[in-house]
């Protein structure tokens, strides 16, 4: 072969290979509950939200300003990992995912226990990671991470939101109680709520607290105890089948008529429960998502695309997952633009991610805490009402609390901020 033909052959092979290399997808690991009790209310909506967004990003069908194809021009390839099971197992699964797939990013995590178990693995392997839910404030308050981001507000905002709303509606409230699942999320939620109640009304303590076993499904004794104790309000962070069983068992016994129920994750069950969830129950959904989402063009697109594809309305885990991926796209695109094109490195994306603010499907996300790695958002809460004529689940009396009203300021630890009476909180309410 002559030198000329050799060069021509090499040039041809480079020309043929170049587009292939350019099209190598970014590998995204998505961790969520695919089996177990948390799959129905959380895991599957989160998977759907992620799947929908990845397809929209790949096809460039997201609305403006996100209508460009891919992340930094790269297509995405999703690998799903089941989050169900013991935390130690999830840590192993995540390590296996990293060994097998070497993902460019890992996105997801719903529950606190599994997420806390996986974080050391993600950081040790320097994997760019975006937590979509995993509400515990301990993530960034107890440790420092270089490549970790969380695009939803931590769960402290839920307790503060519920306490502010309840006391605004019932300023003369004399007694309250709680029933929460006996695991990390239930205990943290109850602690945040009671601390917020005491911050707003010093010395105001709960008259009773119930911590039934996670997944027990039988709440007859707890309901009797609440009926006997007679608190004017009862807070619960129950979720999933536990929440549905609690509602099914308490409704015939009229617990809701004796106490003002506040369900901090009630939004996830409102469509499934429908008329079985009594009117008048206060519900929230871990931020302005689902029925509480702001009516923006982005939200209208997301809601329609989700309903068209899955035949159910999206609940907050779907929004959380979608906004986590959207944040990753914003960071990738920003990092690519900063270097004048091409695929940015993990460190460049991490730098670009820190402190960004972007419009997502439910609300605006500000990565304003924990050195720009933790999001703060406004929160939302309202009163459940089943529209019998239309046969649809709705909310009324919705209140949005600004991010600076329900989240601790940068650098403050949640518990200390609550114990100090929430200093610096700025609450100019909007509707």
């Amino acid at each position: 072969m002559s030198r000329l033909s050799l060069i021509a052959a090499l040039a041809a092979s480079v020309a043929l290979t170049a587009p292939v290399l350019a099209q190598e997808p970014l590998r995204i690991g998505v961790v969520t509950h695919l089996t177990g009790a948390a799959a129905g209310p959380f895991g599957i909506p989160a998977r759907n939200g992620a799947e929908l967004l990845i397809d929209a990003i790949n096809s460039g069908t997201l609305p403006a300003p996100y209508a460009t194809k891919g992340m930094a021009g790269q297509q995405l390839e999703m690998t799903l990992v089941d989050e169900a099971g013991a935390p130690a197992r999830i840590a192993t699964e995540v390590r296996s995912l990293i060994d097998r797939k070497q993902p460019h990013a890992v996105v997801g995590f719903v529950t606190t226990g599994t997420c806390l178990a996986a974080l050391p693995v993600l950081e040790e392997t320097k994997t760019l990671s975006v937590l979509s839910t995993c509400g515990t404030p301990r993530v960034f308050e107890d440790a420092k991470y270089e490549y970790l981001f969380r695009t939803s507000a931590n769960a402290t905002a839920d307790g503060v939101t519920a306490a502010r709303y309840l006391l605004a509606r019932m300023p003369e409230l004399k007694s309250y109680a709680g029933i929460n699942q006996n695991f990390a999320f239930g205990q943290d939620s109850w602690r945040d709520f009671t601390l917020a109640m005491q911050a707003l009304k010093p010395g105001f303590k709960a008259t009773m607290e119930q911590f039934p076993t996670l997944g027990s499904g039988q709440y007859g004794a707890e309901i009797t105890s609440l009926l006997s104790n007679g608190p004017q309000a009862t807070f619960s962070s129950f979720f999933g089948s536990d929440l549905e069983a609690f509602v099914l068992q308490m409704a015939p016994r009229q617990l809701n008529a004796k106490t003002q129920l506040v369900l901090s994750t009630g939004e996830t069950a409102m469509y499934r429960l429908g008329a079985k969830l009594p009117d008048g129950v206060i519900i929230a959904g871990r931020g302005p998502y689902g029925v509480f989402a702001r009516p923006t063009d982005l939200n209208k697109w997301f809601r329609k695309a989700y309903e068209d594809r899955y035949n159910v309305p999206p609940t907050y885990p779907a929004y959380h997952a979608a906004q986590a991926l959207l944040g990753l796209k914003v960071a990738y695109d920003k990092a690519a633009a900063a270097k004048g094109g091409g695929v940015p490195s993990r460190d460049e994306v991490a730098r670009a991610f820190r402190g960004i603010e972007y419009e997502a499907f439910g609300t605006t996300i500000r990565m304003a805490q924990s050195d720009g790695r933790q999001a703060v958002t406004e929160s939302a809460i309202g009163v459940y009402k089943f529209d019998r004529s239309a046969g649809t689940a709705t909310v009324t009396d919705v209140t949005y609390y600004p991010a600076d009203c329900v989240n601790p300021p940068e650098g403050a630890k949640s518990i200390e901020w609550l114990q100090a009476g929430m200093p610096g909180a700025k609450c100019n309410l909007s509707n």
Binding site: T35, Q210, G215, S225, L248, P252, R253
Partner: protein, 298 residues
């Protein structure tokens, strides 16, 4: 109202539920020496089948009280089909093997059935709430209790009474007692133990499925509901003595009343109170409260 009354009511309601879900496990162990970990799956399948049928029944606008018939039909159907399939398709090949091997086999069945449930019914919860409200409520001391919960007590008494009658007053029951007491001697006396086993396993499976089917209207039928049932059933039958039906009843009452007392008086102990009782009983009587003395064979 005095705290004792609600503790007794809630405790008995919970005991009744515990007995119904645990009695099948102890029956199977008593006769077959099989600690059936798949018991939880049979409970779950019973619940799913009942929830599905009840949903369709009410969608078709059929007479509401007919849904109670579906609960029992689901239990019988699931118990017969799965019980016989598991016994004839798997367990009969393991008779005489090490008990640990049999436990592992039933654990494998449990894992398989958990995935089968996901495959058939998916991850969404199945509500079958309608029968729960059909029986109305009763007010005791100003507190409303659902009559469906009380019906569980009646059902538990019927199941317990029927089991006692069947074991002590029927020919088949007496044959079973002989098998429970001494399998080898029963065989030597000409009892066809291999025919007794499928019947026992099917009845035990029916009782597990009945627990699930009757629970379906009270709970949200969703993936994983069988897991806790295994743990609770195991605790109850261990307290009462593996294989003892009266032991299961006493164990269920002990656990139910103690849990209710804990919920009313010291809720922070609810999580481990069941296991505390189990530990205490096992310290005093490692074989459980009602385990029969075993003749030593040489």
């Amino acid at each position: 109202m005095n705290a004792l009354v609600p503790i007794l009511i809630d405790g008995l309601n919970y005991s009744a539920w515990l007995f119904i879900v645990a009695v099948g496990m102890t029956l199977i162990f008593g006769v077959m020496r099989v600690l059936n970990i798949a018991h939880g799956s049979l409970y779950a399948v019973g619940a799913y089948v009942a929830a599905t049928l009840i949903g369709r029944w009410f969608d078709a606008d059929l007479p509401a009280f007919g849904s109670f018939g579906l609960i029992f039909a689901s239990a019988i159907g699931v118990g017969l089909v799965l019980g016989l399939v598991l016994e004839q398709g798997l367990l009969r090949f393991l008779h005489g093997r090490d008990e640990i091997a049999i436990v592992l086999a039933t654990f494998a069945v449990f894992l398989i059935l958990e995935d089968v449930v996901l495959l058939i019914w998916g991850t969404d919860a199945y509500p079958a709430y309608q029968p729960y409200g059909l029986l109305g409520t009763s007010s005791i001391g100003g507190i409303a209790f659902t009559n469906y919960d009380f019906s569980l007590v009646v059902l538990a008494l019927v199941v317990g009474g029927a089991a006692w009658w069947a074991l002590n007053r029927t020919r088949m029951g007496k044959l079973l007692l002989i098998v429970i007491h001494d399998r080898e001697m029963a065989q030597a006396l000409g009892i066809n133990v291999r025919l007794v086993y499928p019947a026992t396993f099917a009845i035990g499976a029916m009782l597990a499925a009945l627990g699930g089917a009757y629970s379906a209207p009270m709970i949200s039928v969703s993936p994983g509901i069988g897991v806790d049932v295994i743990i609770l059933s195991f605790a109850v039958v261990v307290i009462g003595g593996l294989g003892s039906i009266e032991g299961a009843m006493i164990g269920a009452v002990m656990v139910g009343l103690t849990r209710a007392a804990s919920v009313h008086l010291a809720p922070q102990f609810e999580l481990f109170v069941i296991y505390a009782i189990m530990t205490l009983v096992l310290i005093v009587r490692p074989q459980g409260l009602f385990m029969r003395a075993q003749a030593r064979k040489i």
